[in-house]
């Protein structure tokens, strides 16, 4: 059992608060909840799939999706959180493309950038390794040193 104030307790509290916020949103603004639920679906899916510590990819995808969903959510808010407006917005392909595209781009960046960096670094380290090994071979031959 975790002691009071420990990270496990804080995490549980955060989950509880998040649940409370979601419940409140469903209770007082169900149209907004629907819109955000659909537009932030990539972030939710990423959250479910991302098992890495810190969930860095989920965070990136969520921020990107939020950036894409901010404008429709604002229009829904101005329209009085009506279900019809929410449905209309969700039926607009541009709205979905913007929100989900932003999430997809963020996810792609999280996958492509590390691969590119690793490739570059690998080439660099291979060259460096060859150089070191050549020097070691030369020294061993010059001084008759065992490997």
């Amino acid at each position: 059992m975790a002691a009071p104030g420990t990270p496990a307790r804080s995490k549980a509290s955060a989950m509880w608060l998040q649940g409370l916020a979601c419940g409140a949103l469903l209770a007082f603004a169900p149209a907004m909840a629907l819109l955000l639920g659909v537009l932030l679906a990539p972030a939710i899916a990423c959250f479910a799939a991302d098992m890495e510590q810190g969930r860095g990819a989920t965070r990136s995808v969520a921020i990107a999706c939020v950036a894409g969903a901010l404008s429709p959510a604002w229009h829904l808010w101005l329209a009085g959180n009506a279900f019809g407006v929410a449905i209309t917005l969700l039926c607009d392909p541009l709205t979905l493309v913007l929100a989900w595209g932003a999430g997809a781009c963020a996810w792609a960046l999280c996958q492509v950038v590390p691969a590119l960096l690793q490739s570059l670094w690998s080439v660099r380290e291979t060259l460096r390794t060859h150089k070191i090994e050549a020097e070691m071979k030369r020294i061993r031959e010059e001084w008759h040193l065992e490997e």
């Binding site: 890495e52 950036a67 960096l117 040193l145």
Partner: protein, 653 residues
């Protein structure tokens, strides 16, 4: 290589038009001319035998003053005969004519005295004055130009004293010894040999000619020399009278050379020597029966295994007292056999041999040092060691180890001057006890025989007597040698240890083998020092041999490139025959230290590089994590920028 066949001792060339002369004992002499003085043609070069070293005291002295009726050495050195066979030659004046040899008819008394006795006595007197002996007088070694001319005593310095003399010409106590172990003896021993020579000339035949040396010796011991040799020999009275003195058993009873210069006085001299007692009943030693004290001493010394029981049980002492009737001799023997032993193990072999040796000495004070049946004179041990067969050499080794010469000399009160040999005995034992390849028996043999040639098989046919000849000989021998094997062996090591000065040999004496790298470097250093000391000139053969056999090696040099450079220089130095330069390359402490320091730096650098390599291999996971973080941060940054853009856009609308 220049054709040096026929060149001996550097300056002398063998005359191919004249046949070599065979001297007494089978030695050969070659007529030679001096290249520095071609007019001086009457010279000969006597070829010595490698196993019989020349007499150093006479050969090395090379006295410039001629002595009457004697041939003395002038120079010596290595050389080759006309067939190319190398040897050690001693140059001397040519002989006046052929050897007188064995006469076909008896010589007249006057001719014997005028042509042989007087010149020989004069020569012996001159030798005696110089503290020398001849020890090679016999008819084959007396030379004269023509009939009625006085004889000249032939070469006597080309072999150990009396080593080439038949037993007939030696008194029993000398004939009993190993031929090379008879020692310098005294001038009285020369008088004895001269007496036998006079006997042969006067009678016209050789006494006891049908007997071998052992039988002649036994006959002399049994009957006494004079009786054994002159019985049934037709001799003039004058010669008989002279021979009675000259062939006396006791050297003190023989006439001196000075007395022999006046034959009338010499024949008239009578030393009242008591005839030896003879027992009525013989004492048996094995198969032999002895009747006198001298025979007993001879028999005991000859058969030590049978002698010890006779001495230990008191049988010999009883026989001396009861049968021979000589209680004084019995008492002397008792003193030896009953003496409390100083040995830790009284019954061991050394104790038994010591008792037999001292007993023989007590019974016959003239007898030589007898050990395990081998007899030598104390001053002949050195030369005997050089020429003795293996069994006799083993007995002589025991004599040296036991320092038997000391008790032998103490027991012989007749020769107090020989007590000086005590120091020699200690030196001999010390050399014999020295370890390593440069020690032991070989060290002893080369140390005590300064004129003995080195018998190393590495030298092939080259004769090396002086240390100065060693390096040139090895240099020439290198051409036909197996260069994978070391250019040094125990013979050469012992030879160098004995002949070179101690500053050169100190490290060599401490060596245990030639196997290790340190030992090989020591050998290279030794040759380099010899080269520096003796200045023999370039030695490409020996230098190449040292290089190829691994004695001049850079294998333990750490730096490959530096070693390659040094190897080229080393090969160049070897080709130039400069062993000192090779040593400088191989044994350069400063360069070695720099090499070791370089190796240590290289090892440290390797460690650094290996750590860098390990770091590269170990950083892959870290790099992956960083790449992922960077990707996520980049995506987050882009999202935040999008978010900011959306907020600004909403604010503006």
């Amino acid at each position: 290589m220049p054709d040096d066949n026929g060149v001996v001792a550097t300056h002398y060339r063998i005359d191919p038009s004249q046949a070599p002369v065979t001297l007494a004992g089978g030695l050969r002499a070659f007529p030679v001319s001096d290249s520095r003085d071609p007019a001086h043609k009457n010279l000969i070069a006597v070829l010595t035998r490698p196993e019989l070293p020349a007499r150093p005291r006479i050969t090395l002295a090379r006295s410039g003053a001629p002595l009457p009726h004697l041939v003395l050495p002038q120079e010596y050195g290595t050389g080759r005969d006309l067939s190319g066979k190398s040897g050690w030659f001693i140059i001397c004046d040519g002989l006046p004519g052929p050897a007188i040899g064995l006469p076909r008819t008896p010589w007249r008394e006057q001719e014997i005295i005028a042509c042989v006795l007087l010149p020989a006595a004069a020569a012996l007197l001159a030798l005696q004055a110089g503290g020398l002996t001849h020890r090679a007088i016999n008819p084959d070694n007396l030379f004269r130009a023509a009939v009625q001319e006085p004889v000249t005593l032939g070469p006597f310095w080309a072999a150990p004293p009396a080593s080439l003399q038949p037993a007939l010409f030696e008194p029993p106590y000398m004939a009993r010894c190993l031929p090379a172990g008879r020692g310098d003896g005294t001038i009285a021993d020369d008088v004895y040999a001269l007496g036998v020579t006079l006997l042969i000339l006067a009678s016209g035949r050789v006494p006891l000619a049908t007997l071998d040396d052992a039988a002649i010796l036994r006959r002399k011991v049994e009957l006494g020399s004079f009786t054994a040799l002159t019985t049934d020999m037709p001799l003039p009275q004058m010669i008989t009278d002279l021979l009675r003195g000259m062939l006396a058993e006791d050297p003190d009873h023989r006439p001196s050379p000075k007395l022999l210069l006046n034959p009338e006085q010499a024949r008239a001299r009578r030393i009242a020597a008591r005839p030896p007692r003879r027992a009525q009943q013989a004492l048996k030693i094995g198969d032999h029966q002895v009747f006198s004290a001298r025979e007993l001493a001879f028999g005991l010394g000859l058969q030590p295994d049978l002698a010890y029981p006779l001495l230990k049980t008191g049988a010999a002492e009883y026989w001396l007292r009861r049968n021979l009737g000589d209680p004084q001799l019995g008492m002397a023997l008792e003193d030896v056999t009953r003496k409390p032993s100083e040995q830790a193990v009284p019954e061991d072999a050394r104790h038994r041999e010591m008792m037999v040796m001292l007993s023989v000495c007590a019974i016959d004070p003239l007898s030589p040092l007898a050990w395990r049946g081998v007899a030598v004179q104390p001053d002949g041990i050195a030369t005997a060691l050089a020429a003795a067969p293996p069994e006799a050499a083993a007995a002589l080794e025991e004599v040296v180890n036991a320092e038997a010469v000391v008790p032998y000399l103490e027991a012989r009160e007749r020769r107090p001057e020989l007590v000086a040999r005590r120091d020699d005995a200690r030196d001999f034992r010390r050399w014999l006890g020295s370890r390593g390849p440069a020690g032991g028996l070989k060290r002893l043999i080369y140390g005590v025989n300064p004129m003995l040639a080195c018998t190393s098989p590495l030298l092939a046919s080259h004769i090396v007597v002086r240390i100065t000849d060693l390096l040139p000989a090895l240099n020439e021998a290198a051409a036909a040698a197996d260069r994978s094997k070391p250019p040094i062996d125990a013979h050469i090591a012992a030879f160098i240890a004995a002949r070179a000065d101690s500053t050169v040999t100190a490290e060599l004496i401490a060596l245990k083998s030639f196997a290790g790298p340190a030992e090989r470097l020591t050998v290279l250093r030794l040759f380099a020092r010899l080269e520096a000391r003796l200045q023999p000139g370039p030695l490409p053969g020996l230098a190449g041999w040292l290089l190829q056999s691994g004695f001049a090696t850079l294998e333990d040099w750490r730096s490959h490139s530096r070693r390659g450079e040094l190897e080229e220089t080393l090969k160049a130095a070897a080709a130039a025959g400069q062993i000192g330069a090779m040593l400088h390359l191989v044994d350069d402490p400063a360069a070695r230290r720099a090499d070791e320091a370089g190796a240590e730096q290289a090892t440290a650098r390797l460690r650094v590089l290996q750590a860098a390599l390990d770091d590269i291999k170990g950083s892959e996971a870290r790099r992956t994590r960083i790449a992922q973080t960077l990707g996520q941060e980049l995506a987050t940054g882009a999202g935040l920028l999008g978010l900011l853009g959306s907020v600004i856009s909403l604010a503006l609308h």
